[in-house]
């Protein structure tokens, strides 16, 4: 399958959240949250600590079962899925970039990326081919050097490549630049926000960094359990 540089198809919804409600004890974290993300679109979710950003991410990943509401990823409702079906759907349609990369330091970058594909049931040849191509495109050196020897930025690029290797419809990023210095942060953020345009997937970035959030097509703020749109203009910075 040809990868990369798909034109955005903004009429195709990859994530549709309706009336999402979730509380822990007496504390209501999400109260009727709605969110739509189209293919090729990027959305940043900001908010203070404890506002429920991570819970929203957990719900979208299907790791947290909401009290009410529906979550459709790539056209299928996650809240109706259980066990293996949910895992298979998540594995095929969602990629995640974590704050600390969560890469295995002993593996080469190519192996780290291929590992995600292997775990998703892709054949070895195909997994390594995709990993090589992605790393080339994201300009990560990928010889036999262990990932531990890469710079912070290179590691985060590898993490992006790993999140993309299973060709997800939806890419989630949880504070992807939280552990990086300013220069590296900009470079990784530029790369991340170029992904929807290049690969045609939807992107949701959860961050508290407003300069990063400003790069998204839309920025939403989570306040009092509800998502509030901050600006209508796409925030693209060079």
């Amino acid at each position: 399958m040809e990868r990369g540089h798909h034109g955005p198809s903004r009429d195709v919804s990859v994530l549709s959240v309706r009336g999402l409600t979730h509380s822990i004890g007496d504390r209501v974290l999400l109260q009727g949250v709605g969110l739509d993300v189209a293919a090729g679109e990027s959305v940043a979710v900001t908010g203070p600590s404890g506002s429920g950003k991570s819970t929203l991410l957990g719900c979208v990943l299907g790791l947290v079962r909401p009290d009410a509401g529906g979550i459709e990823v790539a056209g299928a409702d996650l809240t109706r899925m259980r066990g293996r079906t949910l895992e298979r759907h998540r594995s095929r349609n969602i990629g995640v970039v974590f704050q600390f990369g969560e890469l295995l330091p002993e593996l080469t970058p190519a192996e780290n990326v291929a590992l995600a594909a292997l775990l998703a049931g892709v054949g070895a040849d195909e997994a390594y081919r995709r990993a090589g191509e992605l790393l080339d495109e994201l300009r990560v050196p990928h010889g036999q050097t262990p990932t531990a020897h890469l710079s912070g930025g290179e590691r985060q690029r590898t993490a992006v490549a790993r999140a993309l290797v299973n060709e997800p419809k939806l890419l989630l990023a949880d504070e992807p630049t939280g552990a990086l210095d300013e220069r590296t942060r900009d470079s990784v953020a530029d790369l991340l926000f170029s992904v929807p345009g290049r690969w045609g997937c939807g992107l949701v970035v959860v961050t508290h960094d407003l300069t990063v959030a400003a790069r998204a097509d839309r920025r939403l703020d989570l306040r009092g359990g509800r998502l509030v749109t901050v600006g209508d203009e796409p925030g693209v910075t060079g």
Partner: protein
């Protein structure tokens, strides 16, 4: 009130923290095992006390009260306490004839046996039946009850001799039973000294303590952070103590109970035979010591909890290790791996190049140093081998696509020191056990000669030692006449009176047929044989019976082997019983004839140096205790090492958790645990066996009774392989449990 509720809260917090911590379940299980091992070692110590006390008490209660000690009291019986052997083991037999049927009975007897009848202990009765000699002491009319036996497994007999066996002049007059000391009969004189067994118990106790330390320190990084937090919040040592207790108390108490369970079960149910060594443990003795059993459970739990608290505090001062040190450690592992095969060859060959007569001590020192160095470097060799295999494994993933193999292969290749620590316990266990066993089966020099003679001569020549003052010619002729057909007799005399300045010489005397059996020349009169003797059997026999200078030779006389009248002056030293052909004599039948036909204790038949062998066998039996306690000890050490490194595997697994959760693949943990834990551990078992066998080879000497016990080695290897499987399953399941709890936030 507030104070007590704070304590309860702290205990609760500790318990909850222990459950949620990284590798918490592994630590709880490790603490449970450690407390169980300590409690088990404690109850074993109690069992030793209980058994020895019971043995001493009952042996004293049945000791014969002799007329010599109590001249004023009435004689109730006549007795001779002697020994007999069965299956290479000695035991006591009391030949006793009561003055009247109303004479007081020794403990454990319900009535007096009639002449020709016997009471046997259950163990002896079973053993004689199995040996096909149930009537060795005549008609068995009953078994000795537990109160009359040192222990439930004791071989013991009260025999009322037949008139033919009985000679009142040669017996002691008995006035009753019971003494303050255990006397000189029964198991009391055959068992190993109590202190020796207690020392051997350290083999169990020390590994149990090592396991406790390892268990207490598992997942210490997270707990040390918690300690720092509690301190920062103003909590002092009492608060930390309650937190630690809350975290550890439940598994530790459960473990202490579990460890006490075997001894408690024996105390409550019945006697039990210990596997491999065959010692029968008395249920009654243990039941009397139940406060001791309870105390050892409490002490074990207390000791583990104390260590948990103490080690926790000490750990807070620990410094992080630098990267440079890690790099140096990896390099040291590689050097160790290269040295290992060289050390094995050096240990096996170099000491053998030194002259044993001149450099015995140096040989031993070199050998033991070599063994110690091999134990240290063998884990390095396994780790470097595993690292090489790990790289190959990771490369193979491009063909087979196994995610677990990729993760484990790269990790093993990158961290040989981790693998070395993982397998160290297994490698050391196998080498140590084999060496322990070899050290404990060595015979003394005379027993070695006896064993060699037994192999050369077998039972083709038996020696009959005579008590000249207890026998008449008629009695001896009668007994010899009832020996199996064809049995030939040669008498051994000592000539020359040293008091008159004459050199002692040995004379062999018998019929021409008997002389020819040993390849000796017939002829009238006495003739001297000097110089080397060609016949192997004769040569071996001469080694045991001749006296005087080695080059003095011996004399041979063709004549009736026995004099007309047996006196101390005229009687031979011993008689040689010879088989007419190449096959051996029926030793059991001959011994039975002598037992039945001759007065008690007047003659004894056996192979050459048999008593030395019996002594050696007894020492070996005592040595088996060391191995019996040492095997579980080293298994505990291996378990401790494996557990210590399970935490490392969990750290590796934690980094795979996000991918595993997102893709829903849990099998990756089974595969990675198989390659990270199971494969190196099994490789270590194999390498340890090879090293143990090679290192044993210079020590092995069948003539000296030293040979590596295959059953012990393979048994230990099987135990360690089972341990590897447990570590694999444990690691994989813990990693899966950890991954299931993983969430992409809230770190």
């Amino acid at each position: 009130m507030r104070r007590s509720s704070l304590l309860v809260q702290l205990l609760r917090i500790g318990r909850a923290a222990g459950r949620r911590a990284e590798g918490g379940r592994v630590r709880r299980t490790a603490l449970l095992l450690a407390a169980a091992a300590l409690a088990f070692a404690g109850t074993a110590e109690v069992a030793v006390y209980a058994s020895y006390d019971g043995m001493e008490e009952r042996s004293a209660e049945r000791a014969l009260q002799l007329k010599d000690e109590f001249p004023g009291r009435t004689t109730v019986a006549h007795a001779v306490d002697g020994f007999d052997t069965l299956g290479g083991r000695q035991y006591s037999v009391v030949y006793i004839r009561p003055e009247s049927p109303d004479s007081p009975l020794p403990p454990g007897l319900s009535s007096w046996p009639e002449p020709g009848q016997a009471f046997l202990s259950p163990a002896l009765r079973t053993a004689l039946t199995e040996a096909g000699e149930p009537r060795r002491y005549g008609t068995v009319v009953g078994t000795i009850a537990g109160a009359g036996l040192a222990g439930p497994g004791e071989r013991y007999a009260y025999v009322n001799p037949t008139d033919r066996q009985y000679d009142a002049d040669k017996t002691y007059e008995v006035v009753g039973f019971g003494s303050r000391s255990p006397g000189s009969s029964g198991d009391w004189i055959f068992v190993a000294p109590r202190q020796r067994l207690q020392t051997a118990l350290y083999l169990l106790l020390v590994p149990a303590l090592v396991l406790t330390v390892v268990a207490a320190r598992m997942g210490s990084a997270a707990r040390d952070r918690r300690t720092a937090l509690i301190s920062a919040l103003g909590g002092g040592w009492p608060q930390r103590l309650w937190l630690n207790l809350g975290e550890s108390a439940a598994p530790v108490l459960a473990g202490a109970l579990l460890g006490t369970l075997p001894a408690a079960a024996v105390a409550l149910t019945g006697d039990v035979t210990l596997p491999w060594i065959g010692y029968r443990l008395s249920s009654d003795d243990l039941a009397h010591w139940w406060p001791g059993l309870a105390a050892s459970a409490a002490a074990a739990a207390g000791a583990v909890l104390l260590l948990v608290c103490l080690l926790h505090r000490a750990a807070s001062r620990a410094k992080a290790r630098s990267v440079r040190l890690t790099a140096r450690r990896e390099q040291m592992v590689r050097w160790g791996a290269m040295a290992c095969p060289l050390l094995v060859f050096a240990t096996v060959w170099v000491p053998g190049l030194l002259d044993v007569t001149r450099h015995s001590q140096l040989r031993s020192t070199l050998y033991l140093t070599g063994v110690a160095l091999v134990m240290v470097t063998l884990p390095c060799a396994v780790a470097v081998g595993a690292a090489a295999a790990g790289s190959a494994l990771a490369r193979s993933v491009r063909r087979n696509g196994s995610a677990g193999a990729l993760v484990a292969g790269r990790h093993t290749a990158a961290h040989p020191a981790v693998t070395a620590r993982l397998v160290a316990g297994v490698c050391i266990a196998l080498v140590l056990i084999s060496q322990l066993q070899l050290k404990n089966t060595q015979y003394g020099a005379t027993a070695q000669a006896a064993a060699a003679t037994l192999r050369t001569v077998g039972t083709r020549v038996l020696v009959m030692d005579l008590k000249q003052d207890r026998l008449t010619r008629e009695q001896l002729d009668s007994a010899l006449g009832k020996l199996p057909a064809g049995t030939r007799t040669l008498a051994v005399y000592q000539d020359g009176d040293p008091e008159k300045g004459e050199l002692p010489t040995t004379r062999l005397q018998g019929s021409c047929a008997s002389l020819k059996t040993l390849s000796l020349r017939c002829g009238t009169g006495t003739h001297k044989v000097s110089g080397p003797v060609g016949d192997t059997t004769l040569n071996t026999v001469l080694g045991w019976v001749t006296v005087g200078p080695a080059d003095a030779g011996f004399t041979v006389r063709q004549a009736d082997p026995l004099p007309a009248r047996l006196t101390e002056r005229t009687a031979p030293e011993s008689l040689l019983l010879l088989a007419p052909g190449r096959s051996g004599l029926d030793q059991a039948a001959i011994q039975q004839t002598v037992r039945t036909e001759l007065p008690i204790g007047s003659a004894q038949v056996g192979t050459f140096g048999e008593t030395w062998l019996l002594g050696a066998n007894l020492s070996a039996a005592h040595g088996r205790w060391v191995v019996f306690l040492g095997v579980p000890g080293v298994l505990l050490i291996a378990l401790a090492a494996a557990l210590a490194n399970l935490a490392e595997f969990l750290r590796l697994s934690r980094s795979v958790a996000p991918l595993s959760v997102l893709t829903g693949r849990r099998r990756v943990f089974w595969t990675s645990a198989a390659w990270s834990l199971l494969a190196p551990l099994l490789a270590a078992v194999a390498a340890g066996c090879v090293a143990a066998v090679w290192l044993a080879s210079p020590q092995e000497n069948p003539d000296q009774g030293i040979s590596l016990s295959g059953s012990l080695l393979w048994g230990t290897a099987a135990g360690l392989a089972a341990l590897s499987l447990v570590a694999w399953a444990w690691g994989a399941r813990s990693a899966i449990a950890q991954a299931t709890r993983w969430r992409p936030y809230g770190e």
